[in-house]
Structure formats: C-alpha cells, structure tokens
C-alpha cells in the first residue's frame, strides 16, 4: 500500500481500529454491509459517505453501542465493551446535542471525568482548550450547535485518549471553529494518536485527512490515501461550447471527437465535456468538421466531483428540482421545460459552486498531501463570537 504511517505500526498496533466483515441490519434494511477496514495511528482517517450511508452506525458499532449483526470491530485487538477503562483509551464525539440541557457544561464533563477517575482540574483544562470556559457554568440548553460541538470535542479529549472518533465534528461550526478542528485533528494525529473523522464533505476531508475510507449504502467504495485518491480521481477534461445554431452541429462535433478517440459527455447548458484528447487536437477536429467553437477551455474535475461520481449510485436521499407544480394554475404553461436539455450519458454533477472555492492560487486538493506539518494550533483560542445570552 502506498500509504505509509508516520509511526511504526507495530509499536502503535494496540490503538488501531480494525473492522472485519462488519454488517448491521435493522429489520429488512441493511445499514452496513460487510465492511472491513483499518484505521491506523499517526494519521487522520476521513470517513466519507452520503447521508444515511452508515457512517454513524459504524461509529456506534466501534463504540459498542450497537451490536453488529455479523462481523466484529476491535480497538487494539479488543472489542470496545471489554476495554479496560475505556474513557482513558477512546474518546468520542457522536452527537453534539447528546447532553442533558439542564446541566452545565462543566458538570456534564465532571460526571464523565469521574467515571474514569480523571481529576476535576482536567475538566477546566479541556474547557479552556475548546474555548468554553466563559460559559462553563451555564446550562447547555442555551448552547448553539457550534458550542455543542465544542463541548462534545471537550468530552472526547477529557481522558487524553490514544484513539479519537469524531462524527461530523465541523457541523455548525463557524469558519474559525472549522480551522481550529482541522488543526486539532492534525495535531492529535501527529502525536501518534488514531484519529477517525466522519464527514459528508469531501472538500473538508481533502484538507484534513491523510487517508480516506469512502462508503455508500453501507458498503466500502474506496480505502486509500488522499494522495492516491487525488491521482486516481482528478482527471482533466476540456469544456467545449459550440456556437449557437442547429443542434446537429453539436452532434456532428460529438461524432467527430468520438471518432478521433475522445470521450464526450453533454453538460447541462449545452457544453460538451471532452476527455482523452488534448486541446489543440480538439480544435483541429472542430476545424475539420467545420464547426465554430465559442469555448474551449481546460478543466480539472474536483475531488468533490470524483466523490460525487463515486457515490452517485448509492445516495439514499436524492433531491430533485422543485417543479412547484402543486402551486401552478391548472393550465400551467411549459415555462419550466428546458428544450434541448439532454440527459447526460454518464451522470455528472450539474451543481456549480456548491462548495467553497479554494483560496486564490492554491488547489486545496493537489496541495493536501504534501503540505508541511501545520504550525502548532492555538489551543487556548477563546470563543468570543458565540454567546448564549
């Protein structure tokens, strides 16, 4: 495997998460099917999948909360339920709102600390780390989602564990909080800990994770390093737009390009997406076919698109365009129909700009694996932007 851990696996083997043939059925529905993977220490492992793909179920099975229908999952070779002093070895953030709203943040953490024999001073310490010290004695009922996430992260850090699991930790966090979580994950991994983070955002994982495990409908789709994922999935393509006119010009060009050895897909909006041919060759083919072009531009498919393609067939909850047909008067005009819209031959992602664009001059995906170790994050960062009052 191309991915090499930063620390000797044999030394850290006892903090490795290992799932073998993990399967979970709820009645007729299979939430997780025959999932096998390893999460190694010393790296941030991203756990990606669409909503309802089984990420949280898998996390719960790792923590012994749900019993697998078949297969098993161990941490350092032990099932979670038989770990000696689990809170000191495994820290987890499962659900930010899994807190009794009437209890203060500090008392919530104190009750968890007492379970593992952790002194109360450590509670104040982690409250400082996540920036909640000013609201420590307030009821968590009034916390925003972002503050709830911080409280959950504090609970995970409490026992200074070797293995950390975070289920969607950046949900509801502000940009400053997202950056903080990102740096925190990397720092924890650089200390040799096992960090397993679930997310449904590829863009976020590309920036945070070293290794990716992608699942869809409870099945493993991909298990490789981010670097491999990028080289395997970030294919170049050219976008070709034919001058307005009869539709047969476009079909003619499509035929010519296919004949020349390219793959052509129609994009919504009338452009063509061409792979397998260099740009000058496309121009030549168009010239020979006597087709005028209005656009011929190089593009790189984003990792997000690669991920969307990968999970396309396994999305459980798919949104459709809101036709607002129920609101139309009976003799509705055909205003919403799109003449000339062609169904893409291969499913593509019509959405544009649905994730934050990378900072200027930097491709976040290309840069991710080779980025130098991050500077030590400011863990004493205080939260000032969110106040429950």
């Amino acid at each position: 495997m191309a991915w090499a851990p930063t620390t000797d696996v044999s030394r850290w083997g006892w903090s490795m998460i290992e799932a073998i043939g993990l399967t979970k059925r709820y009645g007729a529905k299979t939430a997780v099917h025959n999932l096998s993977f390893q999460v190694r220490p010393g790296a941030v492992t991203g756990f990606l999948g669409p909503n309802g793909s089984g990420k949280s179920t898998t996390m719960r099975m790792i923590l012994g909360l749900d019993q697998p229908t078949s297969g098993h999952v161990t941490i350092g070779g032990h099932p979670f339920r038989s770990l000696p002093n689990a809170p000191r070895q495994v820290g987890a953030l499962l659900d930010a709102k899994a807190v009794h709203g009437g209890r203060s943040a500090r008392n919530h953490l104190l009750s968890l600390a007492q379970l593992a024999g952790i002194p109360a001073a450590r509670v104040d310490e982690v409250l400082g780390v996540v920036g909640l010290q000013d609201v420590a004695r307030k009821r968590s009922k009034g916390f925003s989602l972002g503050m709830g996430q911080r409280l959950g992260i504090a609970a995970a850090l409490l026992g200074d564990p070797q293995v950390l699991l975070f289920d969607e930790p950046v949900n509801g966090l502000d940009p400053e909080g997202i950056l903080w979580v990102r740096n925190l994950m990397k720092m924890l991994a650089s200390e040799g800990r096992t960090v397993f983070v679930s997310s449904h955002l590829m863009s976020e994982m590309a920036l945070t994770a070293d290794h990716l495990i992608v699942i869809g409908r409870g099945q493993l789709l991909s298990d490789m390093s981010v670097k491999d994922f990028i080289s395997a999935n970030s294919a170049d393509f050219a976008r070709v737009r034919v001058a307005d006119g009869p539709a047969e010009r476009r079909e003619k060009l499509t035929a010519s390009l296919t004949e020349a050895g390219g793959q052509v897909m129609s994009e919504p909006g009338g452009a063509l997406r061409v792979t397998g041919l260099p740009l000058p060759r496309i121009s030549d083919v168009a010239h020979e076919a006597d087709v005028r072009l209005w656009e011929l531009s190089p593009h790189q498919a984003s990792l997000e698109e690669a991920y969307m393609r990968m999970t396309q067939g396994v999305v459980d909850y798919r949104s459709t365009a809101d036709q607002k047909a129920g609101l139309q008067p009976p003799a509705a005009p055909h205003g919403y129909a799109q003449p000339g819209y062609e169904v893409p031959r291969q499913p593509e992602t019509p959405q544009q700009n649905w994730y934050a664009p990378p900072p200027p001059g930097q491709n976040p995906y290309a840069a991710a694996p080779d980025r130098p170790a991050p500077a030590a994050p400011d863990l004493t960062k205080r939260e000032t932007s969110e106040d429950p009052r």
Binding site: G64, V99, H100, Q114, L115
Partner: protein, 259 residues
C-alpha cells in the same frame, strides 16, 4: 473498566446537577405532607359523620399517609426522569461509551437515585405522620403504639420503591413520555378504579401500589377496606417483586438493545 465507586460518583454528580431532581422530590414531599395534613384535619372534624364500619376500623396512621396517593406521582416522575432524560437527550450514548459495562451503569444509577428516593420517602412519611397526628386531635395515635413505627417506616419504603419501580419501567421503555404516559394513569386511575370494581379487585390487589400500601395500615382492614390475602410485609414483598421484575426487565433491554 470503570469501577463501581467511580460510576456511583458520576451518577451522583448527574443527579444533583439537574433541577428536575430537586423539584420532583420537593413536590413529592410537599404534596404528600400537605394533602395528608388536610385530610387529617378534615377527618378530625367529620369523625362523627363517618359510617360505623369506618369508625370501627379507623386507622389514624393510614389517614396521615393519605396524601401519598398524589405524592407518589411526583416520585414516579422523579424515577422516570432520572432514566428517561438519558434517552431523550442522547446522553445515554455518551454514558455507555464511557461505561461499556451496562450492568454497572444501570445499577449504579438506580442505586444512587434509589437511595435518594428512599431517604426522601422516609422523611416524607415521618413528617406526614407527626403533622397528621397533631391535626387528628383526640383520634390520634402514637409512634410507640403497636405496629405504628413499622407503618411509618414502611410508608417511606413504599414511596422509595415506587420511584425505583418507575426507573425500571423507564429503562424498559427507553422514553420519558411513554413511561409517564403509562405510569401516571396507571397509578392515578387504573389501579384505583380496578380496585373498586368487584370482579377486578382480586387482581388489582396484587398491583404494586395496592399491595405495597398495605404496609401503612396498622388496624387490620383499615377504614373498612377489603381484606387482603397477604399481610403488611407480604404486601411490601409483592411490591419488591414488581420492582425487581422492572429492574431485571430494564437490564435485559439495556443489555440487548442498541443504544
């Protein structure tokens, strides 16, 4: 493994840091004492109007616990909330991730909350008794009289056990709303009504509250009630059996079901 003292400490922190603990237990105390006192005062003034049979079996001890019919409902709420809020808040997953030994988790929680319920129950029954006797005037009894101390202590045990029974039921049902929706009507209506219906009486006398409250009677068949096939301690034993069944049921559910 999280040690049992550690889990007990943690559960004590949990229980003392939510306001529902305080207000449910205070309600149980205040409602029982106030309603018992009011009924004792009423009995004292209306004694001569009572039917002959009730005058013959007049039980001043039992009368001073009459507020428990309502007060026990607050105890039910306490028991249900102690367990139910773990489920409604999702805290149960955090708790069980920290204490994978589910038996230790459940029985530590029940031990802490149960002791608290018993202490409040005993305090309630003593205060209720002494205040009630003071208001009963000539008809009062004394703590030193035969079987009276047993009834007063038993009244406290009864309240505590009703609270623990509710914890077991809430663990089985895994929901505060569902548990309250079943227990409140049961204790307040179903049990009371069935115990008055001739055919259902024979079954209803084995219900937890009907059997358990027998311990509070000093005079046999007090207030002209129906004779029961069990004595005061036998009745409490039936309640204890209900509590044990509820806790075992709760343990099995917690052990088997996914959190």
């Amino acid at each position: 493994m999280a040690s049992v003292p550690a889990v007990l400490t943690s559960e004590w922190t949990k229980i003392r840091t939510v306001s529902s603990t305080v207000w449910t237990l205070i309600s149980a105390f205040v409602v029982t004492v106030a309603m018992s006192a009011a009924l004792c005062a009423l009995m004292n003034s209306q004694f001569d109007d009572l039917p002959v049979a009730e005058r013959a079996t007049f039980d001043p001890t039992l009368i001073s616990f009459s507020g428990m019919v309502l007060g026990q409902l607050a105890m039910v709420v306490f028991g249900v909330l102690v367990v139910g809020t773990e489920y409604s808040s999702g805290m149960i997953r955090t708790s069980l991730a920290a204490v994978p030994q589910r038996g230790s988790f459940l029985f530590s929680k029940v031990a802490v909350a149960g002791v608290l319920a018993l202490v409040v129950g005993i305090a309630t029954s003593f205060v209720s008794f002494f205040l009630g006797q003071a208001l009963l005037g000539d008809h009062h009894t004394d703590i030193g009289a035969d079987n009276v101390l047993r009834a007063v202590v038993g009244g406290g045990l009864y309240m505590g056990l009703i609270g623990i029974f509710s914890m077991g039921v809430a663990t089985m049902l895994r929901s505060s709303m569902l548990s309250l929706g079943i227990l409140m009507p049961f204790f307040f209506l179903v049990s009371q009504i069935l115990s008055a219906v001739p055919g259902a009486k024979k079954v209803a006398r084995y219900f937890p509250d009907q059997a358990g409250s027998k311990i509070m009677q000093v005079v046999p068949d007090a207030m002209n009630s129906d004779p029961a096939p069990y004595g005061p301690w036998g009745g409490l034993g039936i309640l204890v059996a209900w509590v044990a069944a509820a806790l075992i049921g709760g343990y099995v559910v917690l052990k088997k079901r996914d959190a």
